[in-house]
Every structure is written in C-alpha cells, then in structure tokens.
C-alpha cells in the first residue's frame, strides 16, 4: 500500500450546511464501523484469552513446551519459529529487493521502469496458497537435497529454513515497490545539482538518493517484515508444523534446518477446531492470535511512522 498524501483540492469545499446530510452521516457511520471492527477484534481476543493468562501468566510467553492435553501452553518455540522464519525472509529479500529497486529506479529509462514495476506488482498478487503449492512441489525437494548433501540429514524438506526462503520470495515485491517509491521521492533538483558538480550517476545514488531515502527504505523493510510475520498459508504448508522445536544451546542454528512451528502455522491448523470445546485451550489459541496481532501492528506502525517522515522531507 503506498503512502496516502492528503488531498489538496478539497479544502475548497464550503462548510456544511445546518441540515444534516445523509451522505455525511453514512460516511461517518462507516468510518466508525471500521474502527469498531478493529477494536472489537482486539477486545474479543483480549477477553477470550484471559483464562490462559490467569493459568500460565508470563509462563505463556516463556514456556518452551506446548502440549495441550497436559495443559501446558508455552509459546516460546512458536515465537522463535516466527522470528526465525521472518528474519531469514528479510535477510534474503531485503538486499536483493533494495538492489533491484535501485537498479530499476536509477538506471532504467522511464518506460522500462514502469513495465517492470507493474510486472512486479502483478506478481505480488500471486495468492499465498499458490506459493505454498510451489513450496511443496519444488522448494521442499531442493532444500531436502541440499541439506542431505551438506550432511545434515533432514527428515524432510519441511523446515523453518524452507518457510523462510519461500517467504523471502513472497515479500520481495513489497520491498522492491516501496524502496522504488522512496528513491523516486528524492528531490530531482538535488540530483541534477550534484551531477552539475561532476559527480557520476553512481555517486549521486550513494551520496544523495540513498541517504535521503533511508527512512523510506527502512519503512519498506518493516512493512515487508509485517507481512512476513503474518503470513499463514504458505508457511503452514512447508514449515513442518512440529511443536516445541527450540535450540538446545543459545546460538545453535540446528533448529533452523528442522521442522518447526510459527504462530501463524499453529493458528492455521486443525488444533483451532479442536480447541473450541475447552475454554482454557481455546484461550491459549486466542492468546496466540493476540500476540500475533500486537506484534504485527507494532511493526506496521513503526513502518508507517518512518514512511511518513520520508514523505515529509521530500
């Protein structure tokens, strides 16, 4: 979603008349409805998850075992899985996406750039279930082969790593498009002035464009992160859905090449239907949803704030 700038034209509209307008009332009603939806979601998640907060307290966040028959609800492995998958995705998508955006916005002529931009946007519309399908039918085998060749002896290709790689491809268009927008917003006058001093095109990119687009690019990365954290279907299909995968030693990378579980893969799974009968179990599931909501919204807000700052500068 591109940044919204306030419309310039409509300050000219006359002030409203005394008689209430239906359109106006309806518009406000709809806006409040939208707000109510979000608040209701937050409220419901808070209320319905109360039992598990009472039961496990902060243990919900720090416990490393999730076993619902024994009423053990530790979400740390899922938080770990979510973080790992998202970070792998960012580590792959951010450099390539930013590099590609630099190329298309700085070196390509206008028409080609537009063509590439629209193609990428079209490709961004590929549904996540299709990505999941591709992950299952192709990526899974590649990862499995590669890991076997490295002597890591995986059980299958369904690993946190696989999910991370798949996610990287999914968020690549987001990073590219938003970085391209951020670079385009940098003042053309300054670029020309720098060229006038004899700087090469690349120098202008490195000394003028990139520094000034910095907050916009960061916003792009954060928004992509938000998407990565919240993606369910594709991750569900290739992550292995194995509970309680947790590194034995602090910096061990072993769990990355094993099957794991993320917040979203748990929330998209069969356990959700099973849980409804039991208030505590259900509370635990909803608490996972609450965690996801809070984390993703926080990341999105930071990204929005940074994106705004870059448009104010321009």
């Amino acid at each position: 979603m591109s940044t919204i700038s306030p419309p310039a034209t409509l300050g000219l509209l006359p002030r409203r008349s005394a008689r209430p307008s239906v359109t106006r009332l309806a518009s406000f009603a709809f806006s409040l409805l939208t707000l109510a939806f979000l608040l209701l979601m937050l409220g419901l998640f808070l209320v319905q998850s109360l039992p598990v907060w009472r039961h496990s307290g902060t243990g919900f966040l720090t416990g490393t075992t999730w076993h619902y028959p024994s009423k053990l609800f530790g979400s740390l492995p899922m938080l770990y899985g979510t973080a790992v998958v998202a970070l792998i995705a960012l580590a792959l998508a951010a450099p390539i996406g930013i590099g590609a955006a630099i190329f298309t916005s700085e070196y390509l002529p206008r028409r080609l750039r537009l063509a590439v931009k629209l193609t990428i946007e079209l490709l961004a519309g590929i549904p996540s279930v299709v990505y999941g399908l591709l992950g299952i039918l192709f990526l899974r085998n590649y990862v499995s082969d590669a890991l076997t060749r490295m002597g890591l002896d995986p059980l299958s290709g369904d690993t946190l790593l696989t999910a991370g790689i798949l996610l990287a491809v999914m968020i690549l268009p987001t990073v590219m498009t938003l970085t391209d927008d951020a670079l385009r917003a940098v003042s053309a006058q300054q670029r020309v002035a720098a060229r006038g001093l004899g700087l090469t095109r690349t120098q202008v990119i490195c000394t003028i464009a990139l520094p000034q687009a910095r907050s916009g690019i960061l916003a792009a990365v954060l928004l992509a992160l938000g998407r990565a954290l919240g993606e369910t279907i594709a991750v569900f299909l290739v992550v292995g859905r194995q509970d309680n995968v947790w590194p034995q030693h602090l910096l061990s990378l072993r769990p990355i090449v094993k099957a794991g579980q993320t917040l979203t893969s748990k929330l998209g799974g069969a356990e959700v239907n099973i849980a409804y009968g039991d208030p505590l179990h259900w509370a635990a599931i909803v608490a996972l949803g609450l965690l996801l909501l809070v984390v993703v919204v926080a990341v999105t807000w930071i990204g929005a704030a940074l994106g705004r700052r870059s448009t104010i500068h321009a």
């Binding site: 979603m1 919204i4 306030p6 419309p7 310039a8 034209t9 409509l10 000219l12 006359p14 008349s17 359109t23 106006r24 309806a26 518009s27 406000f28 806006s31 979000l38 209701l40 979601m41 419901l44 319905q48 996406g97 590099g99 590609a100 190329f103 298309t104 070196y107 590439v116 629209l118 193609t119 946007e121 490709l123 519309g125 590929i126 549904p127 996540s128 279930v129 299709v130 999941g132 399908l133 591709l134 039918l137 192709f138 690549l172 590219m176 090469t200 690349t202 938000g226 998407r227 919240g230 369910t232 279907i233 998209g268 959700v272 409804y276 949803g289 996801l292 909501l293 993703v296 990341v299």
Partner: protein, 283 residues
C-alpha cells in the same frame, strides 16, 4: 578508480534486478507450464468427484465468485464512506492522519486473524456455522484499505476548478459531493475494487474456518450452515496430500485457474491504473 566503483555498483544492482524478476517469472511459468495440461472446458464446468482426483472445479469457481461478489458489496459502500470522510468531511489534519493510520493498521492485520475473529463472531456467537456470508463480510473488510486508497488517490486528482466552479455557483457541500466528487471518483472505485477482489479471490485463511468446505456443497441455500466450495481452499487441502499423481495435475490446474482469475481481475484494472499514474505524473 571511480569508474570501477561505478561499474561494480551498476553490475551488482543489475544482478539483483535480474534475480528478483527471474525468480518471480520462473514461478509463474512453472505454474502455467504444469497447470496447462489439466485445463479444459470439462475441468471448469464439471464439479468435483472422488475428492478431487476426478471431475472438475466448477463449484469451487462458483464459490469463489460468490465470496468475492459479497466482498465487493460490503467493501464498496464502506470504502466510499471512508474516502469521503477523509477527503471531505474531516478538516482537522490530525483526524485525517488518524484515519490513515486506521487503514494502514487494518491493511497489516494478518488474514488468519480475520479467520479467527470470524470463527468467534459468525460461526459460534451468531450461530451461523460455516456461512458464505461470513466469508464475504470478512473478505470485504479485509480489502477495505486497498479499495479506499485507490478511491482517495482518484479523489485527490479531481481538478480544483470543478470544485471552485460548483462552490461559486452556490452548491452546498453535500451537493458537490453528490454531483462532482462521487461521479468523478467511480474510476478509482472500480480500480480499487478490482485490485481488492484480486486479493480476496486468493485468500484462504479468512475463509477456512468460517465459510468454506472441501466437498459436499454446491450453491448455498440460505445464510446459516451454508458453506461454499472455493478455489484456494481446494488447493490448500489437496496440497497437503500431494503424493497421488492423479491429484497433482488437477492441483496444478486449479492453481492455474486461480492465478488466471487473479490476473484477469488485476489486468482489467491496469489501463485505469496506467491512466491514473500518467495523470499523476503530469497533472
């Protein structure tokens, strides 16, 4: 020395661009290449038999169309209301920013949470069980930001002179809204809706607990306990048991059809979006 740095930088970014575009295009070709053999008129118009190993995806396609149609009916009026609130009725700058933040937030909410929310509210609390209407409503709310932003951008481009002329003739605010702003912004509504529907068509997470089943449904008869079949859920379920080769071809075919639907919806919006983009550049 500078020239060397120049060339290196250029090459690096070129490689990134090639990698990015290459990977994405590879994906699409893979799907098309694999899915093409399964496609036929038969496939599209016959309904499912034998748990997807035989027959076609007719009712899956119908179900998806019902879901996105409902989403459109939900999203269009609300998005219009939001856009008008932002552009016309809110004068305070901070209020506008808050509305933008609301849209931004809604856009970032993971789709699975829509599904969980729908499970709580529609399936259980309202007692609808799985219902096409619940799915449509959830999808409609989910695509609100997409539709609203397209509308806002279109409204922003309405030339000042129209508004000035109308205000000069003595038209009131609501008259201007009805006679100028709404008619002029239809293009934005169409574009936004098409983009939103393209997104909604491919979503699985909001509907898998609330609106769709894998088999045993055709056209919904009422609101309660009336699930529909859908393309993305169909693919989702089959993908988890993808070892039967007979299923695999059908699976690719379904994916190709879904992709085609999403593409068609996005591509129809393209000429409008290009026009808006051009006008924004020179306007």
């Amino acid at each position: 020395m500078r020239k060397l740095f120049d060339a290196t930088f250029f090459t690096l970014t070129l490689l990134c661009a090639v990698t990015a575009c290459g990977v994405l295009l590879l994906l699409v070709s893979a799907i098309l290449f694999k899915g093409f053999p399964a496609l036929s008129w038969h496939f599209l118009t016959e309904q499912i038999r034998l748990v997807g190993a035989e027959g076609g995806i007719f009712y899956n396609l119908v179900g998806t169309l019902i879901l996105i149609g409902t989403a459109l009916l939900v999203a269009a009026p609300i998005a219009t209301g939001l856009a008008l609130t932002h552009s016309v009725y809110l004068r305070n700058h901070r209020a506008k920013r808050s509305l933008e933040l609301l849209l931004f937030t809604l856009n970032g909410v993971p789709s699975i949470l829509f599904g969980i929310f729908g499970l709580i509210v529609f399936v259980k609390f309202l007692g609808w069980g799985k219902s096409w209407l619940a799915g449509g409503i959830l999808l409609g709310v989910m695509i609100l930001p997409t539709v609203t932003v397209a509308l806002l951008e279109r409204i922003r481009m309405i030339p000042r002179k129209y508004i000035e002329a109308a205000a000069g003739l003595g038209l009131s605010q609501s008259q201007i809204v009805r006679s100028i702003i709404l008619p002029q912004s239809i293009g934005g509504l169409v574009t936004g809706s098409l983009l939103g529907l393209a997104r909604a068509a491919g979503e699985t997470a909001p509907i898998m607990f609330t609106a769709t089943v894998f088999a045993g449904a055709a056209l919904p008869q009422s609101v309660k306990e009336s699930p529909v079949l859908s393309l993305p859920y169909h693919i989702f379920i089959l993908a988890q048991d993808s070892f039967d080769p007979a299923i695999t071809t059908k699976l690719w075919g379904s994916a190709a059809v879904l992709l085609a639907l999403v593409c068609v919806l996005s591509l129809i919006a393209l000429p409008l979006r290009l026009k808006i983009h051009e006008e924004a550049q020179h306007g």
